[in-house]
């Protein structure tokens, strides 16, 4: 099981999948920063002064980490960012779910508005989805960590911890 989970082919598939998800999430937000600002504002977790910098930088960070994962460059650094972002997204959604404040997640750009109960149900599914993606990021981090040279991806020189 352990050997199968750390198989290089599985690791490559996981990081490409994770990268594609982050690229797909980044593009609509890059195309429409005001819409993403509105989505962040709706969470009611961030001060007004931070909305624009977050809405402008976060999508590009998602894009660069997604590209890095797909291309196999700086994999560990990108996977750490992905894990940190997924944890942040899950935390923000969980806080609003606990206080029964329905929000449009804004994960892949603006979505169709629904009723409050529909949006709360969506938020539960999105937290589960983020937890699943977080497991994928952990798999990448685990297989590219120090001392795992035997299961590095084929292009081992591109992962962190190796000479580039």
């Amino acid at each position: 099981m352990r050997r199968w989970l750390s198989h290089p082919n599985l690791t490559m598939a996981v990081r490409v999948l994770l990268g594609l998800v982050f690229i797909a999430a980044a593009l609509p937000k890059i195309m429409d920063p005001p819409g993403f600002t509105k989505a962040i504002w709706a969470y009611e977790l961030f001060p007004v002064w931070s909305l624009s910098p977050l809405a402008l930088i976060l999508p590009w960070l998602e894009l660069f980490t997604g590209l890095a994962l797909c291309l196999g460059l700086w994999v560990r650094a990108a996977a750490l960012w992905v894990a940190a972002l997924l944890l942040s997204f899950s935390l923000a959604l969980s806080i609003n779910l606990i206080r029964q404040h329905p929000v449009d997640c804004g994960c892949f750009g603006a979505s169709t508005p629904g009723t409050e109960s529909e949006r709360l149900a969506d938020m539960r599914w999105i937290i589960l989805r983020d937890a699943g993606l977080l497991l994928l990021a952990i798999q990448v981090l685990w297989t590219t960590g120090p001392g795992r040279g035997t299961h590095q991806p084929a292009n081992s020189a591109s992962t962190d911890g190796q000479q580039v």
Partner: protein
């Protein structure tokens, strides 16, 4: 510190730096409807809860607006048949200022106000405005960086006084863009702000006329 951490953290910082640089460049090159101001974003503090139909936030000086004995959900706000008259204009502007002269209006009131020429502000995104809007409404998207310029154009053209009614709408439902715009206009000294709560979807559902295209 292990070698991997020594190389990972600088790379994480490099990714963040690249993202910041790309954001700076893309925002500089973006069109006005997609550009953001990095600082001093023109947003009023969040409005905590959307108002309910007929709820009068303020204007206690208007006895016809919402008698305390009436249930809030069924209360009828002041009629808008004469928008330039005393029914819409607080008799004591100073007193209204001290409270919070923003209230929600119904579909019927919005229609009557439309017929009497009260200005409408569309707080939705400019792309939504182009797809359809209330005829004569001004495109004032609260989330876009050229909002102040658009509001200046509106003020220059209509020259609304502080007590003149202004109707603001967005997409109805949970949309709070019109509340945000009302809060911004209140900060700018307008004391008679009417929010068409059900917004443009309701206007369409009622079969009222609409316009399409650029402002």
């Amino acid at each position: 510190m292990p070698f991997s951490l020594r190389s990972t953290f600088p790379r994480m910082l490099a990714l963040a730096g690249m993202a910041a640089l790309a954001a700076l460049v893309s925002n500089t090159l973006a069109s006005a409807s997609r550009r953001l101001a990095w600082s001093s974003y023109a947003l009023a503090p969040p409005v905590p809860t959307p108002l309910r139909e007929g709820t009068v936030v303020s204007m206690p000086s208007q006895p016809s607006a919402n008698p305390p004995s009436e249930p809030v959900a069924r209360a009828r706000p002041a009629p808008l048949a004469k928008p330039q008259g005393s029914a819409l204009r607080p008799p004591q502007p100073q007193a209204a200022t001290a409270e919070n002269p923003i209230r929600e209006i119904t579909s019927q009131e919005a229609w009557k106000a439309f017929q009497t020429g009260v200005p409408f502000l569309d707080a939705r995104r400019s792309a939504e405005y182009v797809e359809g809007h209330i005829p004569g409404a001004w495109c004032t998207p609260i989330w876009e960086s050229d909002l102040d310029d658009r509001l200046l154009s509106f003020k220059a053209a209509r020259r609304p006084g502080p007590e003149d009614p202004i109707i603001i709408y967005c997409s109805g439902g949970s949309c709070r863009d019109s509340h945000l715009l009302a809060a911004k206009l209140l900060n700018e000294g307008y004391f008679h702000l009417l929010i068409y709560r059900d917004g443009f979807p309701d206007w369409v559902a009622q079969g009222h006329p609409i316009d399409k295209g650029q402002p």
